[in-house]
């Protein structure tokens, strides 16, 4: 009963956030200097042709009318049509979501695999050179921007060694329906690596401090006292306890990973949401910009909602708090 009410409140907050976001996005995007009609016409722009095109695109309608027609459409699943090509925004954005999602999800799965052992090593051996080395590696990884790591990786593995393609993307299933898993992975290795370097470094630091804390806990000392080795005690008790804070960080990191992916898409020319967003901004195809930002906001809000709800499941103490 209490849980049901709490979930309902969270869902209401979620819906309200989406609504507020839609207003903010619309206002900010429409305040951008520059105009889509001029951008389309280019050097062929003169006042008459600009006015003609603006009228044809419905841009001569008042701001409020345009906002409600956009939001009204979205409620019924229609995100409008591109000013540039008259294609449906949904059809333009949908294939882009997959590219960005692959990038984010694969990176998010690999980062902990690197961070957990490295962070544990850094915690366990923090007074020896191995621990210092692990900490240093994560500090260096943290200091290298993902795009720069990307450029370096391209120079070494694509230009120098010819092992991997420099940039571009191949769908898992191509247009003719053939499976292309190898080409798909080849194109993702370098972009995922450049994202993982940063993500794993951030995580390593959290893992390290979480385990350092565990090492000073009473239950750990007890486990050692009954004769368990340090690694066994850490594995049986430490991992589970440290996991709570690490999982929280992973949830928070998802949003920054999404931003990182947008930058990395540029470096590797991946046709994801990031490249779509930048080209739509460059052409002032505002309805597409609005659509993509809305999708990103939606994704972040869903991640937050799920994180919130998962807390409720994990920690019963939180369930009553909102309901009271």
């Amino acid at each position: 009963m209490n849980l049901g009410r709490t979930v309902a409140v969270r869902l209401l907050v979620f819906a309200a956030s989406l609504f507020v976001a839609s207003i903010a996005i619309f206002l900010v995007v429409n305040a951008l200097p520059g105009d889509v009609a001029t951008a389309i016409l280019g050097f062929g722009a003169d006042p008459a042709s600009i006015a003609e095109l603006r009228a044809r695109l419905g841009l001569d309608r008042p701001l409020l009318v345009r906002y409600f027609s956009w939001v009204g459409g979205m409620i019924s699943g229609d995100m409008g049509r591109s000013y540039l090509t008259n294609e449906s925004v949904t059809a333009l954005v949908a294939p882009r979501i997959g590219v960005t999602a692959w990038l984010v999800v694969i990176s998010m799965l690999i980062a902990p695999l690197v961070a957990l052992p490295l962070g544990m090593l850094a915690a366990m051996k923090r007074r020896t050179w191995q621990g210092a080395a692990a900490s240093t590696v994560s500090q260096i990884g943290l200091s290298i921007p993902a795009f720069y790591a990307g450029i370096l990786l391209v120079i070494v593995f694509a230009v120098g060694l010819h092992w991997l393609p420099a940039n571009g993307y191949t769908d898992l299933v191509d247009a003719s329906g053939r499976w292309r898993p190898v080409a798909f992975l080849q194109h993702l290795v370098l972009p995922v690596t450049s994202l993982v370097i940063v993500q794993a470094s951030v995580l390593t630091r959290y893992v390290r401090s979480a385990f350092v804390e565990v090492l000073s806990e009473d239950y750990f000392r007890t486990a050692r006292a009954v004769g368990w080795t340090r690694w066994r005690a850490l594995w049986r008790h430490g991992v589970r306890n440290a996991a709570i804070s690490v999982v929280t960080v992973i949830g928070l990191q998802l949003a920054t990973l999404l931003v990182g992916a947008i930058v990395v898409e540029q470096v590797f020319r991946l046709p994801g949401l990031g490249t779509a967003l930048l080209s739509a901004v460059a052409n002032r195809d505002l309805i597409v910009v609005q659509g993509i930002v809305m999708v990103l906001v939606f994704a972040v809000l869903v991640i937050n909602l799920l994180t919130d709800l998962s807390y409720l499941l994990i920690d019963p103490r939180l369930r009553g708090r909102d309901a009271r």
């Binding site: 105009d35 001029t38 280019g42 095109l53 940039n167 540029q266 020319r269």
Partner: protein, 498 residues
């Protein structure tokens, strides 16, 4: 190390497997050969594929002559040649053009390119939203089909520019069946539009019904790179066969291995122009404009900004245009003279806003110009605007003192005759020359346009910083790339590969 070796082998094995499967798939249609493909790197992705809406040069780069054909074509020497029209006759009063069409020409859809289709195509272009095409086709009074293979175009006034325009975007003959030019171009060229992966590439397939010499590739993919260095690395790592226009000339040395790469260097019709806003009180004075031109060492600018590739021109004319002459020495670098002219004009503490789009040639040139004008006592404030904002604020609203942009179109000197154009240059003498040239005989045209170019140069109407070079890099087995880009098309029809 070991893992590195294993992964490498796995990856190479994977590539081989894909190549084999691709070959197997192509089996039924061409039993012995793998499909012949060409991968071309280009810098700007088209915003839309509809040339009647957008003036973006990336549209004709992809579609002109490759997908859409024109009655007449611009060859690589800048001459007008037959294409869909086998020949054309001009009446003695220069008002009636009679085009005899190629027999057997067909659109990729299979429909014949007959007189009715050509008339419909010209009419479609006349109703363009783009003011450029509207202006270019404005001399047309009527278009009619005399019989199934003859089209008669009547002009309201004689115009040399008009026939030239018919070699460019304005002359594209669109399939009458086409309803969605923005995403599904339908023409009669040797290649047909196949697919567009937004943010990545556009693919053209060979038009198997082509009426003329068939295309030499089964499919051609234009890949778009916002970052010129990404295009260079893609070429170096073997992902591309051609860089259609190198935007990072400093990286040219990376392609010096002639066993692997061929570099084609020639001219384009792109004039990198530092425009003055003539409605600005200071810049409306000849002496001040001259002072600015004397103050800038364009040779040094070219060396710094474009690694010395390209050439100095001195007026709004490219070397492949018929009325070109070298006017680059009209205002040789002479800072002392610049200072003297400023003193004569009685100006001190001149301060100007240089508002440029964020493109490499413009921002780099702006910095150079700023430092050289500082030496003669002119303070320049640089503002960088993204291109869409530049189009609104500078190009449309005229809110600037000076700006730098590459005018890519051929034979666009005529724009100086429009006082409403963003330079706000209102010179009746030039307007009269351009008008007279357009209406005159072919010889008059060249002579009068030469005079117009000289007039612009002497009047320091702008400072033409340099002519953008045509820098194409190909793998060594690609041949037939035109040395000079005389039109906006990246002409695939001449390109072959061993």
């Amino acid at each position: 190390m070991v893992s590195g070796r294993i992964s490498r082998r796995a990856l190479l094995g994977g590539t081989a497997a894909i190549a084999v499967s691709a070959a197997a798939c192509s089996g039924p249609s061409t039993p012995s050969a793998t499909p012949k493909t060409l991968s071309v790197g280009a810098s700007l992705e088209p915003p839309t594929l509809d040339p009647t809406m957008s003036d973006a040069a990336s549209i004709p780069q992809l579609l002109l002559y490759n997908v859409y054909e024109t009655l007449v074509k611009m060859d690589s020497d800048g001459n007008i040649k037959p294409l869909l029209a086998e020949r054309w006759d001009v009446s003695s009063d220069h008002l009636t053009y009679t085009f005899t069409l190629q027999q057997g020409a067909k659109f990729a859809s299979g429909t014949a390119v007959d007189a009715a289709a050509v008339v419909a195509g010209i009419q479609r272009m006349r109703t363009s939203t783009s003011s450029t095409i509207k202006r270019q086709l404005a001399p047309i009074a009527s278009v009619a089909a005399q019989n199934s293979s003859t089209v008669v175009v009547t002009l309201s006034q004689p115009s040399n520019e008009w026939l030239y325009s018919m070699t460019s975007t304005a002359g594209m003959i669109v399939d009458p069946a086409s309803t969605d030019m923005a995403t599904k171009p339908m023409g009669s060229g040797p290649f047909a539009y196949s697919s567009w992966t937004k943010g990545d590439s556009i693919t053209l397939d060979k038009n198997t019904k082509y009426w003329g010499t068939p295309g030499r590739f089964d499919d051609v993919t234009l890949r778009y790179y916002v970052d010129p260095n990404a295009m260079t690395t893609a070429m170096l790592s073997g992902d591309l066969d051609i860089i259609s226009s190198l935007q990072a000339p400093q990286s040219l040395s990376q392609f010096s291995d002639t066993a692997k790469y061929t570099i084609v260097e020639g001219t384009t019709t792109g004039k990198v122009t530092m425009g003055f806003n003539h409605s600005n009180a200071a810049l409306s004075q000849l002496k001040i404009r001259q002072a600015i031109c004397y103050a800038i060492d364009r040779k040094a600018l070219l060396d710094t900004v474009w690694a010395g590739h390209g050439q100095l021109i001195g007026s709004h004319v490219a070397p492949t245009e018929p009325y070109y002459e070298d006017l680059s020495n009209t205002y040789p670098f002479d800072p002392a003279k610049a200072k003297a002219l400023l003193a004569e004009a009685g100006v001190t503490n001149l301060s100007l806003r240089l508002r440029v789009p964020v493109v490499k040639y413009a921002t780099d040139s702006a910095t150079f110009v700023q430092s050289q004008l500082k030496d003669v006592g002119i303070t320049v404030t640089i503002e960088q605007l993204d291109f869409a904002r530049w189009l609104t604020e500078v190009f449309t609203n005229g809110d600037y003192d000076m700006t730098i942009v590459n005018h890519v179109e051929a034979r666009d000197l005529v724009k100086w005759a429009d006082p409403k154009y963003y330079w706000h240059y209102n010179n009746p003498e030039l307007q009269a020359l351009v008008k007279e040239a357009d209406a005159g005989s072919a010889d008059d045209y060249v002579q009068l346009m030469k005079q117009a170019a000289e007039l612009l140069a002497n009047d320091a109407a702008a400072d033409w910083l340099f002519l953008m070079p045509n820098l194409v890099v190909t793998t060594s087995d690609v041949t037939g790339v035109g040395q000079n880009a005389t039109s906006l098309s990246f002409d695939l029809t001449t390109i072959a590969s061993r």
